[in-house]
């Protein structure tokens, strides 16, 4: 069974007045352990697709199965719970909680899952180590660089041991060095821990590292290629 299965998904904004067709019938499957980049020009629909896979937005038509569950059938509350357990998110502008330290930001999702303090502390330490920001653990986002903040965001996404991580333009605000470091971290997590990553990006540096590239244009998949 595939981790993510998308069948005939369409998304139309403002359907009653001036309809904007963001997705026009997407069929896609993503297996566990993939390192996939969804690419395309601005407005092609890649972020919309990512939002639908992540349960942040609902499709107009079609079905989305994540880990065997048709998320279109889930109520808003169950969808929130589903996201908390199954999906890790990395956002373009990091979106860390500014009043929390790096360690607290990472442990936050585990707190939402009512995990014990010891379990959180141990997991946070491991993650800080694996993304290479142990020294930043007690710093707040405003005291860290963009690259460090995005590493915290990756660690946060992984904290609850999700099935996969969705990263929307994760390198858009990073310099070359930070981008390379971040991609190294994510690639290692993919290789060593088998974590599935799905990116939306038009950053060539990310595309070059992806193992599978799905190209979208005008809301349709126009190319789907594996890279060895």
């Amino acid at each position: 069974m595939s981790l993510i299965t998308i069948k005939g998904v369409t998304k139309t904004y403002n359907p009653k007045k001036i309809p904007v067709h963001a997705l026009r019938g997407i069929d896609l499957t993503i297996e566990e352990g993939e390192f996939t980049a969804i690419v395309g020009p601005s407005g092609s629909g890649k972020t919309t697709l990512l939002n639908i896979i992540g349960g942040l937005d609902r499709q107009t038509d079609g079905e989305v199965f994540v880990d065997g569950v048709n998320i279109s059938d889930l109520s808003d509350n169950r969808l929130i719970d589903f996201r908390k357990k199954k999906i890790g998110f990395v956002f373009q502008s990091y979106n860390l909680i500014p009043v929390f330290t790096a360690a607290e930001n990472i442990g936050f999702i585990m707190l939402l899952q009512n995990k014990s303090k010891d379990a959180i502390a141990s997991r946070v330490s491991d993650l800080l180590k694996s993304v290479g920001i142990e020294e930043q653990r007690d710093k707040r986002p405003s005291q860290m660089s963009g690259g460090q903040q995005q590493r915290v965001a990756v660690a946060r996404a992984l904290a609850s041991k999700p099935k996969f991580v969705l990263a929307d333009e994760p390198t858009a605000n990073l310099d070359s060095k930070s981008t390379a470091d971040l991609l190294d971290i994510m690639e290692n997590l993919n290789k060593n821990e088998g974590m599935t990553f799905v990116f939306s990006t038009h950053d060539q540096r990310v595309i070059d590292r992806a193992h599978r590239i799905v190209t979208i244009e005008d809301g349709k998949v126009i190319r789907d290629e594996s890279v060895e």
Partner: protein
């Protein structure tokens, strides 16, 4: 976790939080002070009225209060006093003869109420002996002494040792008069009262009225005001033919004032809550709009709406929880200080305050329940004030909020109106 985020958020924008907390502190302080002042003024007014005019309990012939004629007297009034003296809870008793009189000097005359008192007993019941500003209180040594107020003296153009003439009807309905020498001038601080009464020895006035051994009024002070009704009832049972009334029945406005103390406090609190609630809504809405992206992230990663809602509510409550004790403490120490030293209101308007029967010094006094009421009021205000911003927060759509965009209901309505105007009105014009 919700508490942790809310607490950190309180200190995120210190200036904004301090402004809200400052508003709560000043609001609470001002309510305590205002309630204390009003309470102090009303208590002062009531105390003065009880001390100078009405006592705690008064006994009259039932007809006397309708028509203050001398014929409506209480017989063997000294015995009545002696019996009341034995009742537990009674602090002091005096009896008086009261008659409507014309007081005249060589310059002018005016209508006045003459009160014949037993000077020794009256010292324990009314405060007139403490308000002598010139001359002396009544003594037993000389006949026909009179105490008049300074204001009456001024109007009659008399001074100490001047003679005045009192004219009135005796029990036989004959006009009688007597010459009295001014031995003291008093000033109670209540101009209306001062201009309406003079005091003479009861024996002197009774001789002129021809009603020795009689009197019109028994005035009683009690030890504990909470026992007022029970003491009144005991006296009424002993003298079923007489009219026994407490001070609230004698001067209903005193009871009204007392009951209004609580109402005044509640009115102030409601005004304060209304002002504060808009301040809180405004501040918390700013906090929500400022954090749209963050709220979107929280909801995206799995924070449910209940927790988001609670986070905003708890943050607001924390502001109140921090500020309220400071406001309560400042209010307490301010009123406590002025309760000891008093506030000189005559500095502001001596004549005006005297006209209404207030003391020179007001001693603010805040009932304990006011503090509890404020705690409840502020908590309730913070809770109510947080509901709308919290509701706005949970109405955010994570997919929009995560990008920092927030389309409010108002914006949607506004856009619809603009579209309607464009589609209907402008298109029609073009046609």
């Amino acid at each position: 976790m919700v508490l942790k985020i809310a607490w950190r958020n309180v200190w995120r924008n210190i200036t904004r939080s301090l402004v809200v907390m400052g508003a709560i502190i000043i609001g609470i302080w001002s309510i305590i002070f205002l309630v204390g002042m009003v309470n102090g003024m009303i208590e002062s007014y009531i105390d003065n009225a009880i001390k100078n005019e009405v006592s705690h309990i008064k006994i009259h012939h039932p007809e006397f209060i309708k028509d203050k004629e001398s014929k409506y007297y209480i017989t063997e009034i000294a015995n009545v006093k002696a019996i009341i003296d034995t009742i537990s809870g009674v602090k002091a008793v005096s009896y008086k003869t009261i008659t409507n009189t014309m007081i005249s000097s060589s310059h002018s005359g005016r209508g006045i109420s003459t009160i014949g008192i037993n000077s020794k007993d009256e010292i324990h019941v009314s405060g007139v002996s403490q308000h002598i500003v010139e001359g002396n209180y009544l003594t037993d040594t000389k006949k026909n002494q009179i105490l008049i107020s300074k204001r009456t003296a001024k109007k009659l153009k008399v001074k100490l040792r001047s003679k005045v003439v009192l004219t009135f009807q005796n029990l036989e309905n004959e006009i009688t008069m007597g010459a009295f020498r001014v031995v003291g001038l008093f000033e109670t601080g209540n101009n209306i009262y001062d201009e309406s009464v003079v005091f003479v020895r009861q024996n002197d006035i009774n001789n002129l009225l021809g009603m020795n051994g009689y009197g019109h009024e028994v005035a009683i002070l009690i030890d504990d005001l909470t026992e007022l009704e029970s003491v009144q009832k005991r006296i009424a049972n002993l003298f079923p033919d007489l009219l026994v009334r407490n001070y609230k029945e004698v001067q209903p406005e005193l009871g009204l004032f007392q009951s209004q103390i609580k109402m005044v406090g509640i009115i102030y609190m409601v005004i304060f809550m209304l002002a504060l609630i808009f301040g809180i809504i405004n501040t918390m809405m700013m906090a929500v709009l400022e954090r749209v992206r963050e709220l979107g992230m929280l909801m995206s990663v799995g924070m449910n709406k209940t927790k988001v809602f609670l986070m905003i509510v708890v943050e607001t409550l924390l502001l109140a929880i921090i500020a309220a004790p400071i406001g309560l403490f400042l209010g307490y120490i301010t009123t406590h200080y002025f309760h000891k030293t008093g506030i000189n209101l005559f500095f502001y308007s001596e004549e005006g305050m005297k006209q209404f029967g207030f003391d020179k010094f007001i001693y603010p006094n805040v009932p304990t329940e006011t503090f509890w009421q404020l705690v409840v009021a502020v908590s309730l205000t913070a809770l109510l004030g947080s509901l709308y911003p919290a509701w706005k927060a949970i109405r955010l759509r994570p997919v929009e909020a995560i990008r920092g965009s927030f389309t409010s209901d108002k914006t949607r309505i506004f856009t619809r109106i603009i579209n309607f105007i464009n589609n209907k009105l402008l298109n029609r014009k073009l046609k």
